[in-house]
């Protein structure tokens, strides 16, 4: 059974991908994608039911295949570097391929690691996120890419190619979260980088290719650090035994400088999670069609980065490295939240918010208590759902107004009430109680005092978070006094993923107590043992500090009562207020309103009684928080933190 499950999780997306490439009919291709999605979802649920196990594939020299494919990918990078004349891509392809060749041919390394795959509860949480949310995004992409190409008036359809990389991505991610053999983990890591490059450059515009190349070289620096960590572990820790994730986190490393490979791997995680100063690749990725962004931001790619850091948390627990990682993450949380305020494009706000929340997750791994690790895992799940939803909303909005600018979304509540409603819930779920993201942030803040500077960054960042979300939501809601908003029609390929994710926010949010107790607690224990969150009646989450005599209560989060309050707040206006057309009035404009008393006018008499349309706009504070102003400083501090992270490990 394990054979089938692993094959479905990792190889089925590959097979399905090639099938999608072969099928040229829109409906048949869609059917293949939907079928693959359903099988992946069912399989991930089966993983949950079956529970943890270890697995080593036999019957075929998989190691050799992976080695060949490794070189294939790296040679392809070299080719990209040459053909684009992009020296950074070239250099960082070489810094991977040369050490890898040295490792395998000169050192003649044996890289047999048993078990090759360890599927524990944390991996299962990840595979659920990848399979369910990733699959929904693939379904969404079927129709989206059709509309996208229709809008661009392309002669030759590239939808198959797009869906191929999209589906392949899911397989690579599943492999990545299951792999125990570091060399195999590295391989899956590179496949995700490759998929990411192909998807960002999909539209083949100059900007798309440039940004894809940037994503490639930045992630390739991470890949380089990964290989160096592998070689270092192999040479100093006596062979292939040390190339097992379980050995590294199980305290199996001995001797001096054991933290160096861990620090290198955390650096790799930070590049993939687009932590400052690497945030520019994820922002550049915004040029790609929206399903790519949705996939990169919610369930794949960046989540691989935070997964690696959270996974390695036991290896740096209680060390200097742990504190620095908390600060690296917390600083990114703060810096990118500030930058998000100055963004005028919806997708860029989403991107900065993703990076900020990934920073929060990495900081939680650095804080490294049972409480903070639980917060990190909850944040991974809640962020995947909410951010996946928001990107799909952004894509749906884009296909309704053909713009990504926040100012163009002004008054969307009238043009597309349904999309606006879903987007509004998505936005609120990112930063307000009782939703899951806030729950995660709340736990993180209550755990953060161990690294007080990180706690201060959390405080500042969560304040800035309120500002940019509220600003954006406010633009959507600006409406004229008018009744009767026709509800727009959405293709099922759009609406099914949207509704599923929206309902998901509430199901996981409301049920977080039992979900944590029965499932996430075990995942937390895979990283750090201890039970600091207790779920009591009415789904109260009680945070405790373990002590010898009694448990002291840190804080209480009454989940159900809070959702009840939310429902009351939403129901009251609907129950108490039935708005009649006669009750509508124009807004106050100092009596200079034009339009002859009709309420739904936004015209007024300007100078010399010329009728002028009233125009309102959002504030973006670019003179204070613009990228040009903030980035040089913020990047310098972030680079300094990374230098302290790796340099400090060597010095201390």
């Amino acid at each position: 059974m394990a054979d089938t499950m692993m094959a479905i999780a990792i190889l089925l997306p590959v097979v399905a991908g090639f099938l999608i490439l072969a099928v040229r009919n829109y409906y048949a291709r869609g059917a293949v994608v939907i079928l693959t999605a359903l099988i992946l979802i069912a399989n991930s649920v089966y993983f949950t039911l079956k529970g943890p196990f270890t697995y080593t594939p036999g019957g075929f020299n998989w190691g050799l295949l992976i080695t060949i494919l490794d070189y294939g990918i790296l040679i392809f990078y070299l080719y990209i570097g040459f053909s684009l004349r992009n020296w950074l891509v070239l250099i960082f392809a070489l810094t991977q391929i040369i050490p890898l060749a040295y490792f395998e041919f000169v050192m003649k390394a044996h890289i047999e690691v048993t078990p090759a795959f360890v599927i524990d509860n944390l991996s299962i949480v990840m595979t659920l996120v990848i399979s369910i949310i990733g699959s929904l995004i693939c379904i969404y992409a079927i129709r989206y890419m059709y509309d996208h190409e229709h809008h661009l008036h392309l002669e030759k359809s590239k939808q198959s190619r797009f869906l191929f990389w999209l589906v392949l991505f899911l397989g690579a991610m599943n492999g990545l979260v299951f792999a125990n053999n570091l060399v195999w983990l590295y391989f899956f890591w590179e496949v995700t980088t490759l998929c990411c490059y192909q998807l960002i450059s999909h539209d083949r515009t100059e900007l798309a290719i440039k940004n894809a190349a940037r994503a490639l070289w930045m992630n390739a620096t991470g890949g380089t650090a990964f290989i160096l960590a592998i070689i270092y572990l192999y040479t100093t820790q006596g062979g292939a035994n040390a190339l097992s994730v379980q050995t590294i986190i199980g305290g199996g490393l001995q001797g001096s400088l054991v933290l160096l490979p861990v620090a290198l791997l955390c650096y790799t995680g930070c590049t993939k999670a687009a932590q400052m100063p690497f945030q520019s690749w994820l922002l550049g990725a915004m040029v790609a069609p929206t399903p790519v962004s949705a996939l990169l931001h919610s369930s794949t790619m960046v989540k691989a980065g935070v997964y690696l850091v959270v996974r390695l948390a036991p290896a740096f627990s209680g060390t200097y490295l742990s504190v620095v990682i908390a600060l690296v993450g917390a600083f990114t949380f703060f810096g990118t939240s500030a930058l998000a305020i100055s963004q005028t494009t919806g997708k860029r706000v989403l991107a900065y918010s993703t990076i900020a929340n990934l920073g929060l997750i990495i900081a939680c791994a650095g804080i490294n208590t049972p409480l903070s690790i639980a917060a990190a895992i909850m944040l991974i799940i809640f962020h995947a759902i909410s951010k996946g939803l928001l990107f799909l909303c952004a894509g749906t909005i884009e296909h309704q107004i053909w713009s990504r600018e926040i100012e163009d979304m002004e008054g969307l509540a009238v043009k597309a009430p349904l999309t606006t409603l879903i987007t509004a819930v998505g936005i609120l779920s990112m930063f307000l109680p009782p939703f899951g993201m806030l729950l995660g942030k709340w736990i993180a803040l209550e755990a953060a005092y161990i690294v007080p500077l990180a706690a201060v960054f959390f405080v500042l960042a969560s304040t800035l978070t309120i500002v940019f979300w509220t600003k954006w939501l406010g633009r959507l809601l600006q409406v004229l006094p008018k009744l009767g908003w026709p509800i727009e029609k959405l293709s099922p390929s759009y609406s099914v993923p949207l509704w599923t994710l929206l309902i998901g926010i509430f199901i996981v949010g409301i049920g977080i107590g039992p979900i944590y107790q029965n499932f996430l607690l075990a995942a937390t224990n895979n990283v750090i043992s201890g039970n600091q969150i207790i779920s009591l009646g009415l789904n109260n989450l009680v945070l405790t500090t373990p002590s010898f005599l009694q448990r002291e209560i840190l804080g209480v989060f009454p989940v159900w009562p809070l959702y009840l309050i939310l429902i009351v707040a939403l129901l009251l206006p609907f129950l108490l207020i039935g708005l009649k057309p006669t009750e509508l009035r124009p807004v106050y404009m100092c009596g200079e309103q034009a339009g002859g008393g009709a309420p739904d006018t936004d015209e007024w008499f300007a100078e010399a009684d010329t009728v002028t349309k009233c125009q309102l706009g959002g504030y973006y504070y670019q003179s204070v928080l613009g990228e040009k102003r903030v980035c040089p400083w913020a990047n310098a501090i972030a680079i300094l933190l990374l230098v302290i992270m790796i340099g400090g490990v060597i010095v201390i």
């Binding site: 304040t463 600006q478 409406v479 008018k482 840190l554 708005l579 936004d602």
Partner: protein, 288 residues
Amino acid sequence: MMINQLLLVFVVLVGAPIVGGLLFGIDRKITARMQGRYGPPIIQPFYDFFKLLGKEHIAVSKLQFVWIYGYLVFMIASLIFLVLKSDFLLLVFLLGFAAVSLVLGGFSTKSPYAHFGANRELMQIMAYEPILLLLAIAIYAQNGSFLISEIFKHDKPLLFTLWPLFLAVLYVLTIKMRKSPFDIATSHHGHQEIVKGVTTEYSGPYFALFHLAEWYEIILLLGIIALFWTNPLWVGILIALAAFIMELFIDNIAARLTVSWMVRLSWSVGLILGIANIAYIYLTKGVS
């Protein structure tokens, strides 16, 4: 236990707006006297409230009610959290939802004045939110718990160790009470705001809801200040009332500052007070 708590919640739900309304009446009276006027009777806010309730229903947007109810309901929720001595950090986040609701209510009209007010209200949130969150962390640093009930278990008042944050919270009180120099988003006494700021487009019964929420809010804010001296609690309440009266004086002697001044002041002086306070506790007490 459970019955007692329900009773307490009920008493506060009914009592808070009465006391809050009276406080606003006293505010108007004292302010009037300071300006050499006679001033309205102390129960004038209630007259106003019931008069507003009886007015015609007028709306400029289908969405603004959702948010005015959000403002009221989440304000009451935060107050209940305070009364039940629950988690202080969560209380601050709930208060955040209330504040965000008010901003979104302003944004959900196409009114230039409401937008001015909403943008300013948002900057006000940015100015005071970090101080309240730092207060939560400082309370944890001092007591080892975020629960308000833990504050009551300690004999030594928080004021002794958290006095820098107390000063910062007074700053927050000025902003939240919409008093000069920070009556920026909207203000009570018709100083010099642009029309009526964030509440410009609320009228009649909906405007009454806004007042009701403000009455709950003032009780909540003074309650937070009273937490600085909980044993015995009457000292804390006296401190809170003194702070309230002090705000009225500040209101009448200060001119309004600009938004950027407000944010700059709180992100420099306010945050330094808060961070230094936490750093001091961390260095002297360590992680308990």
